[in-house]
Symmetry: C2
Subunit: 278 residues, 2 copies
């Protein structure tokens, strides 16, 4: 049962926000949805946001709506983690609400609600199929920072669902990044075998690869660059025949000023990839 | 003495924020500045924000940078009111910090710090002249909501400084709008003669008009439409030979989803107006 809680005209379409009871996370979740005006069955892109974000940051700050409106492509922007008073949280912004890390927790403390992997890879595609008229044979996925890494790991394992993949400033290593240190300990009990299944670099090392190209953009003035492990990810992709196109941009940081600068390129990339899929 | 407190690469330019001691408001003020890459002496646009905003809202949510970068036009985005611990405030969001209303207060309680008219019309143009290399013969001004009304009243009285004027969803009546009811009472002691000098409709009635056209956009789904008095302003403009071009857009609200949809048109409008000024 979806409840619409925001609806605003934006370019030639509507920016909406929905609330619903999530079966994966056993709490109410929100997601944002941008739908361009059209009678056609159009493709839809998942955008996964970074740590501290909810469903609002990207829809307010990225300026994507102009390009989604022009290209007639819908976007769904889920929250990054379960929410609500009864949901376990942490003082550390890299854990708990705002830092779900797009994985299924295995520890007793977190496993009841922190199942963002199932939510993105299974529950949301089903919700889209059952409630809207988008072309679910043409779903793409991308994201920023924690969400960039999340988009990559989910896309690597779910090529049949997500037909196109890109990322902005993605966290490519759960094992090594300071951002994910608390998450892999707390959510996954530091279990290497399970971490590997959510870690972009490990997945590529284990030859979990896609046929299509992964597009990545990153700023060279990104204050977190060394914690993203993008070059290491690139090297593994080359070794394991995963096609990859990484653009490194002089002067740009990790923030939404960077995201808004390159968002048009990403919408265009997915538009072209999804145009001829069936 | 300007202190730079933020600097981020955004499109082909930099989005910066400065702090300085304001002589008009006798406190530290912040303004945002977007400067496209160029060696030329380019025009600059003032953008005045609405109630509750500071210098951040517009630079994060409007997506203007793409168009300012393309057109090589700088933008300065001042705060809407004085700030700081020692500055008088109000429980009411329509008064005090976040609601300076671009006027000079006359009451003892407010007059020391609330002098946003002087700040915009005099202090900031001087700061630009003394600290940057923009073409101060080509300054335009626009704004949203309270800032749209502020831009109009300032532009009507300062045609020699501001060579181009537009507004998004402007509050056109200080006398009648619920938004300004507290402000005119508290800042201006309900003095009609003084209110008239800051009230767009009254200025036009008193034949304080410009030679150029005022461009206005507003959404017909704007939840505050009846409090903006745009049609009344239009009628007075027609009566008093002030050229005006009002576009009313079906379905759009008062928010930044509306602003981002039409921001390109406004940048383009000022670009064309300022292109040939000397």
């Amino acid at each position: 049962m979806l409840e619409i809680i925001e609806k605003n005209r934006c370019f030639k379409g509507f920016q909406e926000v929905y609330s619903h009871l999530s079966k994966s996370n056993k709490c109410n979740m929100k997601f944002a949805l941008y739908t361009p005006d059209t009678n056609e069955k159009i493709p839809i892109l998942f955008f996964l946001s970074g740590i501290t974000c909810d469903e609002q940051n990207f829809i307010q700050k990225s300026g994507f709506q102009k390009f989604a409106s022009d290209k007639k492509i819908a976007l769904i922007i889920p929250d990054t983690s379960p929410r609500g008073e009864n949901i376990k949280n942490s003082e550390d912004y890299k854990l708990g609400k705002g830092a779900g890390f797009y994985l299924n927790a295995i520890t007793d403390e977190w496993k009841q609600h922190y199942n963002m992997y199932d939510y993105i890879a299974d529950e949301l595609p089903t919700i889209i199929e059952n409630n809207f008229n988008f072309d679910t044979n043409r779903i793409g996925i991308f994201g920023h920072s924690m969400g960039g890494g999340g988009a990559i790991q989910i896309a690597l394992k779910n090529e049949k669902i997500f037909k196109s993949i890109s990322a902005l400033s993605p966290i490519c290593s759960l094992f090594q990044s300071d951002f994910s240190a608390m998450a892999i300990k707390e959510y996954l009990n530091s279990n290497s075998e399970i971490i590997s299944k959510y870690d972009p670099i490990s997945l590529i090392k284990n030859s979990v690869v896609r046929k299509d190209i992964i597009k990545i953009d990153v700023g060279l003035n990104d204050e977190y660059l060394k914690d993203l492990y993008i070059s290491e990810f690139e090297q593994e992709c080359i070794k394991h025949d995963q096609k990859i196109d990484i653009s490194k941009h002089k002067g740009y940081g990790h923030n939404y000023y960077f995201v808004q600068t390159f968002i048009e390129d990403h919408i265009e990339f997915h538009y072209k990839n999804l145009r001829n899929k069936i």
